[in-house]
Symmetry: C2
């Protein structure tokens, strides 16, 4: 399983054998069953996750209703969303499928970075990349219709629609399940995809 993690990191920088060994020694890879809740709203946040296999979902509960804020599939990192007090989770994170993920914690990260300062550079690159992606997604969301958002999802993450329930996709797109059904029908009829 470590190989998936090495592949992910080596997109950004090659790893030495010593660094690979240090990563294995961290012992940060965990398996979770579908339905497991990894983070609850209000939990003290210990660190982020990187999905090696499977699918996680982040959501919050608004007026008793789950609102999906993100889906995280293979090699997508999850950064926790903090609430107003800045140390506790504002969202839930659960497993949509049986999943294998890396589980970090701040002490371990600090120690590793002191030993391998190159990892700080790596984290900076990944963090900046996530920030850029998120800024672009936010702007796209604001400036597009629900139908455009659905078409973008079909284009950019086609596999996701087969992996997660439709009502979760709907809330992720910021619409009701009935609206998603109508959009899907219209898109199928128009043959735009």
């Amino acid at each position: 399983m470590e190989n998936y993690l090495f592949d992910f990191i080596e997109q950004y920088m090659p790893l030495t054998e010593e660094e690979k060994k240090a990563i294995v020694d961290l012992d940060i890879i965990r398996s979770f069953k579908k339905g497991t809740i990894l983070v609850k709203e209000g939990d003290i946040i210990k660190g982020g996750y990187l999905v090696i296999k499977g699918c996680l979902r982040s959501y919050c509960i608004v007026d008793g209703e789950e609102k999906t804020t993100g889906f995280y599939t293979e090699t997508v990192p999850i950064v926790p969303v903090f609430g107003a007090d800045d140390s506790r989770a504002a969202h839930f994170v659960s497993c949509v499928e049986d999943s294998i993920v890396t589980v970090g914690n701040p002490d371990m990260e600090k120690e590793t970075m002191e030993k391998f300062p190159r990892f700080e550079k790596l984290c900076l690159i990944i963090s900046e990349q996530l920030l850029e992606k998120n800024l672009a997604s936010f702007a796209d969301f604001k400036n597009s219709t629900p139908e455009q958002r659905y078409l973008d999802l079909l284009k950019n993450r086609p596999g996701l629609l087969q992996r997660v329930p439709q009502h979760q996709i709907a809330s992720y797109l910021g619409i009701k399940p009935q609206s998603l059904s109508r959009i899907r029908k219209r898109v199928a009829q128009n043959g735009t995809v």
Copy 2:
């Protein structure tokens, strides 16, 4: 003017005299007149900005209409939004007021980080903080009504409403100017703020 920049950095880490001198030597502080366009959609992105004084705005043009994606006031950093080809700007950035900003570039950043590796840590902290804020803002935007968004803006950035035109505030909130007028009237009548 450098003092504003030092204050910003020293929220995260104290600076040595040598580091302060190095920052001054970088000569990255520039003044721009209200209305100046710093970045055009399609420009090759050279780096980010940090507002020392004034107000910048990012926006894109959808069907001939400007859609505001962000306002950046004192000590708020701007990370450029990249388009699909990953090197060119997807958004415009302009000055809403006469503004003083730091102007970075990748070569300079690389050189500074090699000389002062502590700045890498600083950039990582700032980048992670921006990412967390952006994730929270995106989720809040998705899960709130236009009226809630307006109330949040009033609460979190009350000064902004006096500094920028109402139609820009409206597009920032993802609504039409008429809807913003209605919301403002309703909020004023209900005395919720």
